[in-house]
């Protein structure tokens, strides 16, 4: 919009008055005519008659009657609208698809919703309630612990377990044979060491005649020497 046109319009709204700009600009002239009509229509609106009841109400309020104010305050509480999801659930509940128009859907839902009876509470409810009130803490624990979310194990746990299994396998493959080898070496060493420190557990005797041998070993010597038994060499 041109500056002159904007200026004319701003000035007119602030203080309505004829300006020469309307002569040169047909758009602004038309704009002004429409605004003049608006202003004339609005300014000519009849002032409504103040009802006499207003004075009585103001008088009552000044005298301490807060009833209407309380009523207005209570009725001003906003009512949350039903979420769109509610209709979907109702439709599912009665096994119908929401494909028809609003009027048809309304006709179908009304009897279905009307069929929902208001049920009286079963007698067992009172007994359960009394039990809960008698041991409120226990019931609170049961109620809320059962609703605790079951958490799934994190991935890190599986990785740690696999690492542990691998470590144990490594130990079995490498360390066990090493331990066995070490034990065997120790045994051999012990045996060799004992052999070096102690005398042989047998006595070497050079005998020139069989009758000089111990009678217990004489037959063994005769056999090993190839001498017929009873004959000395």
């Amino acid at each position: 919009m041109k500056d002159d046109c904007q200026k004319h319009r701003d000035q007119w709204l602030h203080a309505p008055a004829w300006s020469e700009h309307e002569v040169v600009c047909a758009d602004c002239a038309a704009w002004t005519r429409v605004r003049v009509q608006h202003v004339a229509a609005l300014s000519a609106l009849t002032r409504p008659e103040v009802p006499e009841e207003l004075a009585l109400r103001v008088q009552a309020e000044l005298a301490g009657d807060r009833g209407r104010r309380l009523e207005r305050a209570l009725t001003s509480l906003t009512r949350p609208g039903a979420p769109a999801e509610l209709e979907e659930r109702v439709v599912e509940l009665f096994g119908q698809r929401a494909s028809e128009g609003d009027a048809t859907r309304g006709e179908q839902h009304a009897p279905a919703l009307g069929a929902l009876d208001v049920h009286a509470a079963p007698p067992v409810l009172e007994r359960l309630l009394n039990e809960e009130l008698a041991a409120a803490a226990d019931y609170r624990v049961k109620r809320f612990s059962s609703s605790l979310e079951r958490l799934s194990a994190p991935d890190a746990l599986e990785q740690r377990l696999q690492l542990g299994v691998r470590r144990r396998a490594l130990a079995r493959l490498v360390l066990a044979p090493l331990a066995t080898l070490a034990a065997a070496t120790l045994v051999v060493w012990l045996l060799v060491r004992r052999g070096a420190e102690h005398e042989y557990p047998f006595l070497v005797v050079r005998a020139t005649a069989a009758d000089r041998l111990d009678p217990l070993v004489r037959p063994l010597a005769e056999i090993l020497g190839g001498v017929p038994p009873g004959e000395a060499r």
């Binding site: 605004r35 009802p51 000044l62 005298a63 104010r69």
Partner: protein, 208 residues
Amino acid sequence: MPAEDPPGMNTDPDAELVLACQRTSATSLEGDYRRLYDRYKDRVYNVCFRITGNPSDALDASQETFGILFRRMREFRFESRFSSWVYRIAVNASIDVRRRARRRLTSLEALQEVRDSQGKYDPADHMVEMPSAAASRRELEAEIQRAISRLSPKLRTIIVLRYVENLSYEEVSEALRISLGTVKSRLARAHEALDRELTPVLDKHYLG
């Protein structure tokens, strides 16, 4: 040394009456409170009626306005004109009542109430218009009110204060506690909205 009066007090035409009210408590609609009520009842009710769009809500909003006004009279410090303060309370009360009432009243009932409330006349008054002309004017006013009611609360308020109550830019700015620039821009937007809502109505009425 006595404290200086606030600067607004000397130029406010309601200052004397307001100060008189502030010296007493409002327990009944008598004396200075009655005078103040009589001075402002037409303006308050007119604003409330034009913003809410129907007499019932206008009555509630007007009662709310005077209730707040009289209860909080002593809090007024002449930082603005008293009339600006009254208009501000009336506008807020009206918007509030209309918001609450939207759930209660259907649009059809609202239109019927507007129609019923228009231009009562005394048949004995020989200056009254011919019934057909009066009915036509009542219908036009109802249409104008419907057009106003279709505006958003902010634009509706600007239109009512500026053209129905004939407040200047400065007075509107003071009443609504908005800048002059905001008054100007809202008024321009209000006129654009009225182009859509009101121009067809006026064309139909004037052209037949």
